[in-house]
Protein backbone atom coordinates (compact mmCIF):
# COMPACT_ATOMS: atom_id res chain seq x y z
CA UNK A 1 0.00 0.00 0.00
CA UNK A 2 1.39 3.43 -1.03
CA UNK A 3 2.05 5.71 1.89
CA UNK A 4 3.52 8.64 -0.04
CA UNK A 5 3.58 9.52 -3.66
CA UNK A 6 5.20 12.52 -5.33
CA UNK A 7 4.37 13.62 -8.86
CA UNK A 8 6.67 15.89 -10.86
CA UNK A 9 7.88 17.59 -7.71
CA UNK A 10 9.87 20.80 -8.12
CA UNK A 11 11.38 23.11 -5.54
CA UNK A 12 13.21 26.16 -6.82
CA UNK A 13 14.85 28.75 -4.57
CA UNK A 14 14.92 32.26 -6.01
CA UNK A 15 16.07 34.21 -2.96
CA UNK A 16 19.59 34.62 -4.34
CA UNK A 17 20.60 36.01 -7.73
CA UNK A 18 21.17 32.49 -8.98
CA UNK A 19 18.04 30.34 -9.23
CA UNK A 20 18.58 27.04 -7.43
CA UNK A 21 16.55 24.01 -8.42
CA UNK A 22 16.88 21.93 -5.26
CA UNK A 23 14.29 19.36 -6.35
CA UNK A 24 13.95 19.08 -10.08
CA UNK A 25 10.95 17.00 -11.06
CA UNK A 26 10.97 14.01 -8.71
CA UNK A 27 8.25 11.37 -8.97
CA UNK A 28 8.55 8.72 -6.27
CA UNK A 29 6.37 6.54 -4.14
CA UNK A 30 6.90 4.81 -0.81
CA UNK A 31 4.90 1.86 0.41
CA UNK A 32 4.06 0.87 3.96
CA UNK A 33 6.91 -0.81 5.83
CA UNK A 34 9.76 0.63 3.74
CA UNK A 35 13.18 1.35 5.26
CA UNK A 36 14.48 3.73 2.63
CA UNK A 37 17.49 6.00 2.45
CA UNK A 38 17.69 9.06 0.24
CA UNK A 39 21.38 9.51 -0.43
CA UNK A 40 23.68 11.71 -2.42
CA UNK A 41 26.36 14.38 -2.13
CA UNK A 42 25.86 17.57 -0.14
CA UNK A 43 23.49 19.97 -1.91
CA UNK A 44 21.87 17.24 -4.00
CA UNK A 45 18.41 18.01 -2.53
CA UNK A 46 18.06 15.24 0.11
CA UNK A 47 16.96 17.48 2.96
CA UNK A 48 14.77 19.62 0.68
CA UNK A 49 12.96 16.49 -0.54
CA UNK A 50 12.53 15.27 3.04
CA UNK A 51 11.17 18.68 4.09
CA UNK A 52 8.70 18.58 1.21
CA UNK A 53 7.60 15.04 2.12
CA UNK A 54 7.08 16.19 5.71
CA UNK A 55 5.11 19.28 4.75
CA UNK A 56 7.68 21.57 6.33
CA UNK A 57 8.19 23.25 2.99
CA UNK A 58 5.88 23.85 0.02
CA UNK A 59 6.81 22.66 -3.46
CA UNK A 60 7.14 25.16 -6.32
CA UNK A 61 5.07 22.76 -8.40
CA UNK A 62 3.98 19.15 -8.41
CA UNK A 63 2.05 17.22 -5.82
CA UNK A 64 2.69 15.15 -2.72
CA UNK A 65 -0.02 12.65 -2.02
CA UNK A 66 -0.18 11.07 1.40
CA UNK A 67 -2.99 8.66 2.12
CA UNK A 68 -4.76 9.86 -1.02
CA UNK A 69 -4.57 13.53 -0.03
CA UNK A 70 -2.49 16.18 -1.83
CA UNK A 71 -0.78 17.90 1.09
CA UNK A 72 0.61 20.74 -1.02
CA UNK A 73 -2.87 22.25 -1.14
CA UNK A 74 -3.29 22.33 2.66
CA UNK A 75 -3.23 25.63 4.55
CA UNK A 76 -0.47 26.23 7.11
CA UNK A 77 -2.82 25.37 10.01
CA UNK A 78 -4.12 22.24 8.30
CA UNK A 79 -0.57 21.20 7.49
CA UNK A 80 0.51 21.49 11.13
CA UNK A 81 -2.42 19.28 12.20
CA UNK A 82 -1.65 16.87 9.38
CA UNK A 83 1.96 16.56 10.52
CA UNK A 84 0.86 16.00 14.12
CA UNK A 85 -1.40 13.10 13.15
CA UNK A 86 0.52 11.48 10.30
CA UNK A 87 4.24 12.18 10.30
CA UNK A 88 7.02 11.48 12.78
CA UNK A 89 10.27 13.45 12.63
CA UNK A 90 13.77 12.59 13.80
CA UNK A 91 16.25 15.42 13.40
CA UNK A 92 20.04 15.44 13.20
CA UNK A 93 20.34 17.67 16.32
CA UNK A 94 17.71 15.66 18.28
CA UNK A 95 15.76 18.88 18.90
CA UNK A 96 14.30 17.83 22.22
CA UNK A 97 12.70 20.52 24.36
CA UNK A 98 15.32 21.24 27.03
CA UNK A 99 12.92 22.13 29.85
CA UNK A 100 10.95 18.90 29.52
CA UNK A 101 12.00 15.47 30.80
CA UNK A 102 12.60 12.55 28.44
CA UNK A 103 9.09 11.21 29.09
CA UNK A 104 7.47 14.64 28.66
CA UNK A 105 9.34 15.09 25.38
CA UNK A 106 8.24 11.68 24.15
CA UNK A 107 4.58 12.24 25.00
CA UNK A 108 4.55 15.83 23.70
CA UNK A 109 2.63 15.01 20.50
CA UNK A 110 0.21 12.72 22.34
CA UNK A 111 -0.50 15.63 24.64
CA UNK A 112 -1.20 17.86 21.64
CA UNK A 113 -3.55 15.13 20.40
CA UNK A 114 -5.24 15.20 23.83
CA UNK A 115 -4.74 11.46 24.37
CA UNK A 116 -5.83 10.24 27.81
CA UNK A 117 -3.14 9.95 30.47
CA UNK A 118 -3.43 6.18 30.77
CA UNK A 119 -2.92 5.73 27.02
CA UNK A 120 0.07 8.05 27.07
CA UNK A 121 1.66 6.29 30.02
CA UNK A 122 1.22 2.86 28.43
CA UNK A 123 2.60 3.97 25.05
CA UNK A 124 5.65 5.73 26.51
CA UNK A 125 6.41 2.81 28.77
CA UNK A 126 6.18 0.43 25.80
CA UNK A 127 8.38 2.65 23.61
CA UNK A 128 11.04 3.35 26.24
CA UNK A 129 11.33 -0.39 26.75
CA UNK A 130 11.52 -1.05 22.99
CA UNK A 131 14.27 1.53 22.42
CA UNK A 132 16.22 0.64 25.55
CA UNK A 133 15.96 3.80 27.66
CA UNK A 134 13.82 2.51 30.48
CA UNK A 135 14.58 4.36 33.72
CA UNK A 136 15.48 7.60 31.91
CA UNK A 137 11.91 8.90 31.89
CA UNK A 138 12.40 11.72 34.37
CA UNK A 139 15.77 12.92 33.15
CA UNK A 140 16.13 16.14 31.18
CA UNK A 141 17.85 16.00 27.74
CA UNK A 142 20.95 17.86 28.93
CA UNK A 143 21.75 14.94 31.24
CA UNK A 144 21.41 12.29 28.53
CA UNK A 145 24.09 11.18 26.06
CA UNK A 146 23.68 11.98 22.35
CA UNK A 147 22.58 8.43 21.63
CA UNK A 148 20.05 8.48 24.44
CA UNK A 149 18.70 11.84 23.30
CA UNK A 150 18.24 10.54 19.78
CA UNK A 151 16.40 7.51 21.15
CA UNK A 152 14.05 9.85 23.01
CA UNK A 153 13.57 11.70 19.71
CA UNK A 154 12.69 8.38 18.05
CA UNK A 155 10.24 7.64 20.87
CA UNK A 156 8.67 11.08 20.35
CA UNK A 157 8.35 10.44 16.61
CA UNK A 158 6.76 7.03 17.18
CA UNK A 159 4.53 7.87 20.12
CA UNK A 160 1.54 9.07 18.11
CA UNK A 161 1.77 6.06 15.73
CA UNK A 162 2.37 8.14 12.58
CA UNK A 163 2.05 6.74 9.06
CA UNK A 164 5.79 7.14 8.51
CA UNK A 165 8.96 8.53 10.08
CA UNK A 166 11.19 11.04 8.33
CA UNK A 167 14.73 11.08 9.68
CA UNK A 168 17.19 13.74 8.50
CA UNK A 169 20.77 12.64 9.17
CA UNK A 170 19.74 11.00 12.45
CA UNK A 171 23.17 9.51 13.09
CA UNK A 172 25.32 12.48 12.12
CA UNK A 173 26.04 13.45 15.73
CA UNK A 174 26.38 9.91 17.11
CA UNK A 175 29.40 7.70 17.65
CA UNK A 176 29.66 4.28 16.06
CA UNK A 177 28.21 2.33 18.97
CA UNK A 178 25.24 4.65 19.40
CA UNK A 179 24.63 4.63 15.63
CA UNK A 180 24.57 0.84 15.51
CA UNK A 181 22.25 0.62 18.50
CA UNK A 182 19.89 3.24 17.09
CA UNK A 183 19.78 1.60 13.67
CA UNK A 184 19.13 -1.78 15.31
CA UNK A 185 16.17 -0.31 17.14
CA UNK A 186 14.77 1.37 14.04
CA UNK A 187 15.19 -1.69 11.92
CA UNK A 188 13.56 -3.86 14.59
CA UNK A 189 10.56 -1.47 14.79
CA UNK A 190 10.37 -1.52 11.00
CA UNK A 191 10.39 -5.29 10.83
CA UNK A 192 8.25 -6.08 13.84
CA UNK A 193 5.74 -3.23 13.70
CA UNK A 194 5.90 -2.49 9.96
CA UNK A 195 6.77 1.18 10.60
CA UNK A 196 7.91 3.09 7.50
CA UNK A 197 11.26 4.93 7.84
CA UNK A 198 12.62 7.33 5.25
CA UNK A 199 16.12 8.68 5.88
CA UNK A 200 18.05 11.50 4.29
CA UNK A 201 21.68 10.56 4.93
CA UNK A 202 25.17 10.18 3.67
CA UNK A 203 26.17 7.93 6.56
CA UNK A 204 27.34 4.63 5.04
CA UNK A 205 26.20 2.75 8.17
CA UNK A 206 22.62 3.85 7.51
CA UNK A 207 22.90 3.16 3.80
CA UNK A 208 24.16 -0.35 4.56
CA UNK A 209 21.06 -1.09 6.66
CA UNK A 210 18.53 0.41 4.21
CA UNK A 211 16.23 -1.82 2.21
CA UNK A 212 15.84 0.80 -0.50
CA UNK A 213 18.41 3.38 -1.63
CA UNK A 214 17.37 6.41 -3.65
CA UNK A 215 20.33 8.29 -5.12
CA UNK A 216 19.85 11.97 -5.80
CA UNK A 217 22.04 14.34 -7.74
CA UNK A 218 21.23 17.93 -8.69
CA UNK A 219 17.68 17.46 -7.51
CA UNK A 220 16.82 14.44 -9.59
CA UNK A 221 16.70 10.70 -8.84
CA UNK A 222 19.66 9.08 -10.54
CA UNK A 223 19.23 5.61 -9.05
CA UNK A 224 16.50 3.87 -7.06
CA UNK A 225 17.47 0.40 -5.81
CA UNK A 226 15.48 -1.93 -3.63
CA UNK A 227 17.12 -4.76 -1.66
CA UNK A 228 16.20 -8.13 -3.02
CA UNK A 229 15.30 -10.45 -0.16
Amino acid sequence: MKVIETKELFKTYTETEVEVKAVNGISLSFTEGEFAAIVGPSGCGKTTLLNLLGGLDKPTSGSIIIDGKDISSLSSRQMIDFRMNNIGFVFQAYNLIPVLTAKENAEFIMNLQKKPKAEREARISELFKAIGIEGKENIRPSRLSGGQQQRVAVARALASKPKFILADEPTANLDSKATTELLDIMRKLNEEENITFIFATHDQRVIDRAKRIINLDDGIVVKDETEVV
Binding site: S76, I80, D81, M84, N85, I97, P98, F108
Partner: protein
Protein backbone atom coordinates in the same frame (compact mmCIF):
# COMPACT_ATOMS: atom_id res chain seq x y z
CA UNK B 1 15.07 35.44 35.39
CA UNK B 2 16.17 38.50 33.39
CA UNK B 3 12.55 39.37 32.57
CA UNK B 4 11.44 38.93 36.17
CA UNK B 5 14.36 41.09 37.37
CA UNK B 6 13.60 43.84 34.85
CA UNK B 7 9.92 43.94 35.85
CA UNK B 8 10.87 43.90 39.55
CA UNK B 9 13.25 46.81 39.04
CA UNK B 10 10.63 48.66 37.03
CA UNK B 11 8.02 48.31 39.79
CA UNK B 12 10.44 49.38 42.54
CA UNK B 13 11.69 52.41 40.57
CA UNK B 14 8.27 53.57 39.39
CA UNK B 15 6.55 53.15 42.76
CA UNK B 16 9.43 54.74 44.65
CA UNK B 17 9.70 57.71 42.30
CA UNK B 18 5.95 58.35 42.19
CA UNK B 19 5.53 58.04 45.93
CA UNK B 20 8.36 60.54 46.45
CA UNK B 21 6.77 62.96 44.00
CA UNK B 22 3.29 62.67 45.47
CA UNK B 23 4.72 62.66 49.00
CA UNK B 24 6.42 65.98 48.33
CA UNK B 25 3.25 67.53 46.87
CA UNK B 26 1.29 66.13 49.79
CA UNK B 27 3.77 67.68 52.20
CA UNK B 28 3.57 70.97 50.35
CA UNK B 29 -0.23 71.03 50.52
CA UNK B 30 -0.28 69.80 54.10
CA UNK B 31 2.26 72.42 55.23
CA UNK B 32 0.76 75.41 53.52
CA UNK B 33 -2.88 74.42 53.26
CA UNK B 34 -4.04 71.56 55.44
CA UNK B 35 -2.09 72.75 58.49
CA UNK B 36 -2.68 76.45 57.95
CA UNK B 37 -5.42 77.90 55.79
CA UNK B 38 -7.53 74.74 55.72
CA UNK B 39 -8.96 73.36 52.50
CA UNK B 40 -12.05 75.62 52.48
CA UNK B 41 -12.67 79.06 53.96
CA UNK B 42 -15.70 81.34 53.99
CA UNK B 43 -15.12 85.10 53.87
CA UNK B 44 -16.95 88.29 53.27
CA UNK B 45 -17.29 88.17 49.46
CA UNK B 46 -14.75 90.95 48.74
CA UNK B 47 -12.21 89.92 51.35
CA UNK B 48 -10.00 87.78 49.18
CA UNK B 49 -9.49 90.49 46.57
CA UNK B 50 -8.97 93.19 49.16
CA UNK B 51 -7.70 91.66 52.36
CA UNK B 52 -8.43 94.50 54.75
CA UNK B 53 -9.98 94.06 58.10
CA UNK B 54 -12.87 96.20 56.88
CA UNK B 55 -14.00 93.43 54.50
CA UNK B 56 -14.86 91.19 57.38
CA UNK B 57 -17.76 89.37 58.97
CA UNK B 58 -19.51 89.87 62.28
CA UNK B 59 -19.87 86.52 64.02
CA UNK B 60 -23.17 85.20 62.86
CA UNK B 61 -24.62 81.93 64.20
CA UNK B 62 -26.98 81.46 61.22
CA UNK B 63 -24.04 81.55 58.81
CA UNK B 64 -22.04 79.09 60.92
CA UNK B 65 -25.03 76.74 61.33
CA UNK B 66 -25.66 76.79 57.58
CA UNK B 67 -22.09 75.72 56.98
CA UNK B 68 -22.24 73.03 59.68
CA UNK B 69 -25.33 71.57 58.01
CA UNK B 70 -23.32 70.67 54.91
CA UNK B 71 -22.57 66.98 54.76
CA UNK B 72 -19.06 65.92 55.93
CA UNK B 73 -18.31 69.29 57.55
CA UNK B 74 -17.00 68.60 61.05
CA UNK B 75 -16.44 72.05 62.49
CA UNK B 76 -16.09 75.73 61.62
CA UNK B 77 -13.28 77.80 63.15
CA UNK B 78 -13.35 81.56 63.41
CA UNK B 79 -10.26 83.57 62.60
CA UNK B 80 -9.41 87.23 62.54
CA UNK B 81 -6.42 87.92 60.33
CA UNK B 82 -4.64 91.10 59.44
CA UNK B 83 -1.18 92.54 59.09
CA UNK B 84 0.82 94.59 61.59
CA UNK B 85 4.34 95.68 62.19
CA UNK B 86 6.11 93.77 64.96
CA UNK B 87 8.94 95.38 66.78
CA UNK B 88 11.51 94.39 69.37
CA UNK B 89 14.41 96.59 70.35
CA UNK B 90 15.67 98.02 67.06
CA UNK B 91 14.21 95.37 64.78
CA UNK B 92 10.86 95.62 62.99
CA UNK B 93 9.09 93.28 60.60
CA UNK B 94 5.74 92.99 58.85
CA UNK B 95 3.77 90.12 60.34
CA UNK B 96 0.56 88.26 59.86
CA UNK B 97 -1.56 88.44 63.00
CA UNK B 98 -3.95 85.57 63.34
CA UNK B 99 -6.59 85.58 66.04
CA UNK B 100 -7.75 82.04 66.69
CA UNK B 101 -9.68 79.81 69.05
CA UNK B 102 -6.67 77.81 70.34
CA UNK B 103 -8.68 74.77 71.48
CA UNK B 104 -10.69 74.34 68.27
CA UNK B 105 -7.72 75.16 66.04
CA UNK B 106 -5.76 72.32 67.56
CA UNK B 107 -7.46 70.07 64.96
CA UNK B 108 -6.14 72.16 62.06
CA UNK B 109 -3.09 74.08 63.20
CA UNK B 110 -1.90 71.51 65.78
CA UNK B 111 -0.05 74.30 67.59
CA UNK B 112 0.86 72.19 70.62
CA UNK B 113 2.84 69.80 68.45
CA UNK B 114 4.66 72.67 66.78
CA UNK B 115 5.76 74.41 69.97
CA UNK B 116 9.51 74.44 70.39
CA UNK B 117 9.69 76.82 73.34
CA UNK B 118 7.26 77.97 76.01
CA UNK B 119 3.58 77.02 75.93
CA UNK B 120 0.72 77.14 73.48
CA UNK B 121 -2.20 79.56 73.81
CA UNK B 122 -5.41 79.36 75.80
CA UNK B 123 -8.65 81.14 74.79
CA UNK B 124 -8.46 83.76 77.56
CA UNK B 125 -4.70 84.40 77.38
CA UNK B 126 -3.44 87.92 76.89
CA UNK B 127 -0.25 86.58 75.31
CA UNK B 128 0.95 85.65 71.86
CA UNK B 129 3.02 82.92 70.27
CA UNK B 130 5.10 83.44 67.14
CA UNK B 131 7.05 81.60 64.45
CA UNK B 132 10.63 80.58 65.21
CA UNK B 133 12.13 82.35 62.21
CA UNK B 134 10.28 85.55 63.10
CA UNK B 135 11.45 85.25 66.73
CA UNK B 136 14.97 84.71 65.50
CA UNK B 137 14.81 87.79 63.29
CA UNK B 138 13.34 89.95 66.03
CA UNK B 139 15.75 88.46 68.58
CA UNK B 140 12.86 87.85 70.92
CA UNK B 141 12.35 85.00 73.34
CA UNK B 142 9.70 83.51 75.60
CA UNK B 143 8.85 85.95 78.41
CA UNK B 144 9.79 89.04 76.36
CA UNK B 145 7.30 91.59 75.13
CA UNK B 146 6.49 92.14 71.46
CA UNK B 147 5.17 95.45 70.30
CA UNK B 148 2.60 95.38 67.50
CA UNK B 149 1.46 98.32 65.47
CA UNK B 150 -1.19 98.17 62.77
CA UNK B 151 -4.52 99.37 61.53
CA UNK B 152 -7.70 98.31 63.30
CA UNK B 153 -11.31 98.22 62.22
CA UNK B 154 -12.69 101.32 60.47
CA UNK B 155 -9.44 103.22 60.63
CA UNK B 156 -8.73 102.73 64.31
CA UNK B 157 -5.13 102.34 65.29
CA UNK B 158 -4.10 98.96 66.56
CA UNK B 159 -1.31 99.20 69.07
CA UNK B 160 -0.33 96.74 71.73
CA UNK B 161 2.51 95.19 73.67
CA UNK B 162 2.12 91.45 74.15
CA UNK B 163 3.80 88.93 76.34
CA UNK B 164 5.49 86.14 74.34
CA UNK B 165 4.17 82.87 75.72
CA UNK B 166 5.80 80.55 73.26
CA UNK B 167 7.67 80.03 70.03
CA UNK B 168 6.58 77.47 67.47
CA UNK B 169 8.00 76.12 64.26
CA UNK B 170 5.60 76.26 61.34
CA UNK B 171 6.57 73.67 58.72
CA UNK B 172 6.22 76.16 55.84
CA UNK B 173 9.22 78.48 56.21
CA UNK B 174 7.41 81.45 54.61
CA UNK B 175 4.73 81.26 57.27
CA UNK B 176 7.25 80.66 60.04
CA UNK B 177 8.94 83.95 59.09
CA UNK B 178 5.83 86.09 59.60
CA UNK B 179 3.22 84.47 61.83
CA UNK B 180 1.96 85.74 65.17
CA UNK B 181 -0.92 83.84 66.80
CA UNK B 182 -3.10 85.32 69.53
CA UNK B 183 -6.42 84.26 71.03
CA UNK B 184 -9.39 85.47 68.97
CA UNK B 185 -10.75 87.68 71.79
CA UNK B 186 -7.37 89.39 72.21
CA UNK B 187 -7.12 89.95 68.43
CA UNK B 188 -10.64 91.46 68.38
CA UNK B 189 -9.56 93.82 71.19
CA UNK B 190 -6.29 94.66 69.41
CA UNK B 191 -8.05 95.44 66.11
CA UNK B 192 -10.92 97.22 67.92
CA UNK B 193 -13.37 94.84 66.29
CA UNK B 194 -15.61 93.14 68.83
CA UNK B 195 -17.23 90.01 67.39
CA UNK B 196 -15.36 90.52 64.12
CA UNK B 197 -13.73 87.80 62.06
CA UNK B 198 -12.21 87.66 58.61
CA UNK B 199 -12.40 83.94 57.90
CA UNK B 200 -14.36 80.85 58.77
CA UNK B 201 -12.16 77.80 58.32
CA UNK B 202 -14.20 74.74 57.40
CA UNK B 203 -12.85 71.48 58.81
CA UNK B 204 -13.55 68.12 57.14
CA UNK B 205 -11.63 64.87 56.85
CA UNK B 206 -11.40 63.98 53.17
CA UNK B 207 -9.52 66.62 51.18
CA UNK B 208 -10.81 65.06 47.96
CA UNK B 209 -14.23 66.50 48.85
CA UNK B 210 -12.92 70.09 48.78
CA UNK B 211 -14.77 71.24 45.65
CA UNK B 212 -17.94 69.34 46.51
CA UNK B 213 -18.13 70.88 50.01
CA UNK B 214 -17.33 74.36 48.72
CA UNK B 215 -20.15 74.15 46.18
CA UNK B 216 -22.55 72.85 48.84
CA UNK B 217 -21.64 75.72 51.21
CA UNK B 218 -22.09 78.33 48.48
CA UNK B 219 -25.50 76.85 47.76
CA UNK B 220 -26.49 77.32 51.41
CA UNK B 221 -25.09 80.75 52.24
CA UNK B 222 -26.04 84.19 51.02
CA UNK B 223 -23.48 84.61 48.26
CA UNK B 224 -24.26 88.29 47.87
CA UNK B 225 -22.50 88.72 51.24
CA UNK B 226 -20.26 85.69 51.69
CA UNK B 227 -18.14 83.40 49.58
CA UNK B 228 -16.75 79.92 50.22
CA UNK B 229 -13.38 79.35 48.53
CA UNK B 230 -11.28 76.27 47.96
CA UNK B 231 -7.56 76.26 48.77
CA UNK B 232 -6.95 76.17 45.02
CA UNK B 233 -8.85 79.48 44.69
CA UNK B 234 -7.02 80.95 47.67
CA UNK B 235 -3.54 79.79 46.65
CA UNK B 236 -3.51 79.64 42.85
CA UNK B 237 0.26 80.09 42.85
CA UNK B 238 0.70 76.94 44.93
CA UNK B 239 -1.69 75.03 42.68
CA UNK B 240 0.26 76.26 39.68
CA UNK B 241 3.53 75.28 41.31
CA UNK B 242 2.23 71.79 42.08
CA UNK B 243 0.67 71.37 38.65
CA UNK B 244 3.85 72.61 36.97
CA UNK B 245 5.99 70.33 39.06
CA UNK B 246 3.58 67.46 38.51
CA UNK B 247 3.91 67.88 34.73
CA UNK B 248 7.70 67.79 35.14
CA UNK B 249 7.30 64.74 37.34
CA UNK B 250 5.06 63.07 34.81
CA UNK B 251 7.61 63.71 32.07
CA UNK B 252 10.25 62.11 34.30
CA UNK B 253 8.02 59.15 35.01
CA UNK B 254 7.17 58.87 31.29
CA UNK B 255 10.91 58.69 30.54
CA UNK B 256 11.26 56.06 33.25
CA UNK B 257 8.34 54.10 31.78
CA UNK B 258 9.99 54.30 28.34
CA UNK B 259 13.26 52.96 29.74
CA UNK B 260 11.29 50.22 31.47
CA UNK B 261 9.40 49.47 28.22
CA UNK B 262 12.62 49.16 26.23
CA UNK B 263 14.20 47.03 28.96
CA UNK B 264 11.25 44.66 29.12
CA UNK B 265 10.90 44.63 25.31
CA UNK B 266 14.60 43.81 24.95
CA UNK B 267 14.45 40.91 27.37
CA UNK B 268 11.22 39.51 25.90
CA UNK B 269 12.62 39.83 22.38
CA UNK B 270 15.88 38.17 23.40
CA UNK B 271 13.92 35.36 25.02
CA UNK B 272 11.80 34.88 21.91
CA UNK B 273 14.92 34.90 19.69
CA UNK B 274 16.63 32.33 21.89
CA UNK B 275 13.60 30.06 21.71
CA UNK B 276 12.96 30.33 17.98
CA UNK B 277 14.50 26.92 17.34
CA UNK B 278 12.45 25.38 20.13
CA UNK B 279 9.27 26.93 18.71
CA UNK B 280 10.18 25.75 15.20
CA UNK B 281 10.58 22.17 16.44
CA UNK B 282 7.24 22.35 18.20
CA UNK B 283 5.55 23.62 15.03
CA UNK B 284 7.31 20.95 12.94
CA UNK B 285 6.02 18.14 15.11
CA UNK B 286 2.49 19.47 15.14
CA UNK B 287 1.91 22.32 17.56
CA UNK B 288 -0.15 25.22 16.19
CA UNK B 289 1.53 28.64 16.22
CA UNK B 290 -1.47 30.15 18.00
CA UNK B 291 -1.07 27.62 20.79
CA UNK B 292 2.61 28.55 21.19
CA UNK B 293 1.57 32.22 21.26
CA UNK B 294 -1.01 31.49 23.96
CA UNK B 295 1.54 29.58 26.06
CA UNK B 296 4.10 32.36 25.61
CA UNK B 297 1.47 34.92 26.61
CA UNK B 298 0.56 32.99 29.79
CA UNK B 299 4.25 32.62 30.49
CA UNK B 300 4.69 36.40 30.11
CA UNK B 301 1.75 37.02 32.48
CA UNK B 302 3.24 34.61 35.01
CA UNK B 303 6.73 36.11 34.81
CA UNK B 304 5.41 39.67 34.93
CA UNK B 305 3.20 38.83 37.90
CA UNK B 306 6.14 37.28 39.76
CA UNK B 307 8.24 40.36 38.92
CA UNK B 308 5.47 42.68 40.10
CA UNK B 309 4.93 40.75 43.35
CA UNK B 310 8.66 40.79 44.14
CA UNK B 311 8.75 44.48 43.16
CA UNK B 312 5.93 45.28 45.59
CA UNK B 313 7.54 43.23 48.35
CA UNK B 314 10.71 45.30 47.88
CA UNK B 315 9.00 48.66 47.33
CA UNK B 316 6.61 48.56 50.31
CA UNK B 317 9.26 48.62 53.08
CA UNK B 318 11.29 51.18 51.13
CA UNK B 319 8.30 53.51 50.75
CA UNK B 320 7.33 52.95 54.42
CA UNK B 321 10.88 53.67 55.58
CA UNK B 322 11.14 56.98 53.73
CA UNK B 323 7.65 57.92 54.89
CA UNK B 324 8.73 57.56 58.51
CA UNK B 325 12.27 58.81 57.97
CA UNK B 326 12.04 61.30 55.07
CA UNK B 327 15.18 62.36 53.25
CA UNK B 328 16.42 65.60 54.81
CA UNK B 329 17.79 67.98 52.24
CA UNK B 330 21.13 69.63 52.84
CA UNK B 331 23.20 72.41 51.27
CA UNK B 332 21.79 74.65 48.53
CA UNK B 333 18.83 72.37 47.98
CA UNK B 334 17.38 73.51 51.33
CA UNK B 335 17.04 77.10 50.11
CA UNK B 336 15.36 76.16 46.85
CA UNK B 337 12.92 73.83 48.59
CA UNK B 338 12.13 76.43 51.26
CA UNK B 339 11.31 78.91 48.50
CA UNK B 340 8.45 76.60 47.60
CA UNK B 341 7.11 77.09 51.10
CA UNK B 342 7.89 73.55 52.10
CA UNK B 343 9.95 71.91 54.80
CA UNK B 344 13.25 70.76 53.27
CA UNK B 345 12.39 67.09 53.80
CA UNK B 346 11.25 64.66 51.13
CA UNK B 347 8.82 62.07 52.42
CA UNK B 348 7.15 59.30 50.41
CA UNK B 349 3.40 58.91 50.39
CA UNK B 350 1.69 55.67 51.37
CA UNK B 351 -1.06 56.10 48.80
CA UNK B 352 -2.45 52.77 47.59
CA UNK B 353 -3.33 54.37 44.27
CA UNK B 354 0.36 54.83 43.45
CA UNK B 355 0.94 51.09 43.82
CA UNK B 356 -2.20 50.21 41.86
CA UNK B 357 -1.59 52.75 39.07
CA UNK B 358 2.03 51.75 38.61
CA UNK B 359 1.17 48.07 38.58
CA UNK B 360 -1.44 48.72 35.90
CA UNK B 361 0.97 50.82 33.82
CA UNK B 362 3.78 48.27 34.10
CA UNK B 363 1.41 45.41 33.29
CA UNK B 364 0.29 47.32 30.20
CA UNK B 365 3.92 48.02 29.23
CA UNK B 366 4.88 44.38 29.64
CA UNK B 367 1.90 43.22 27.61
CA UNK B 368 2.61 45.75 24.87
CA UNK B 369 6.27 44.72 24.92
CA UNK B 370 5.19 41.09 24.47
CA UNK B 371 3.10 41.79 21.35
CA UNK B 372 5.98 42.00 18.87
CA UNK B 373 7.72 38.81 20.05
CA UNK B 374 4.34 37.05 20.04
CA UNK B 375 3.66 38.21 16.49
CA UNK B 376 7.12 37.01 15.46
CA UNK B 377 5.94 33.47 16.29
CA UNK B 378 3.28 33.85 13.58
CA UNK B 379 5.95 34.87 11.07
CA UNK B 380 8.39 32.17 12.15
CA UNK B 381 9.94 30.14 9.32
CA UNK B 382 10.23 26.59 10.56
CA UNK B 383 13.07 25.28 8.41
CA UNK B 384 15.26 28.38 8.79
CA UNK B 385 14.70 28.51 12.54
CA UNK B 386 15.49 24.82 13.02
CA UNK B 387 18.85 25.28 11.28
CA UNK B 388 19.95 27.86 13.90
Amino acid sequence: MITISSVTLAVVLAVFMRSFQEGTYGKMIENAIGDFTGYVQVHQKDYWDDKTIDNSIEVNSTLINNILEVENVESVNQRLESFSLASNENRTKGTLIMGIDPEKEEQILSLKKKMIKGESLKADDKSIILGSKLAEYLKIDVGDTLVLLGQGHWGNSAIGAFHVKGILKMPAPDIDRQIVFMPLKLAQEYFSFENGITSLVVKFEDSDLTQEITDAINAKIDTTKYLAMTWQDMSPEMLQQIEGDRVGGLIMIAILYMIIAFGVFGTVLMMAEERKKEYAVMIAIGMQKTKIMAISFYEAILMNSVGIIIGIILAVPLVFYFNIYPIEMTGEAVESIEKLGVDPVLPTTLSLSIFVNNIIVILLITFLAAIYPLLSILRLKVIESMRR
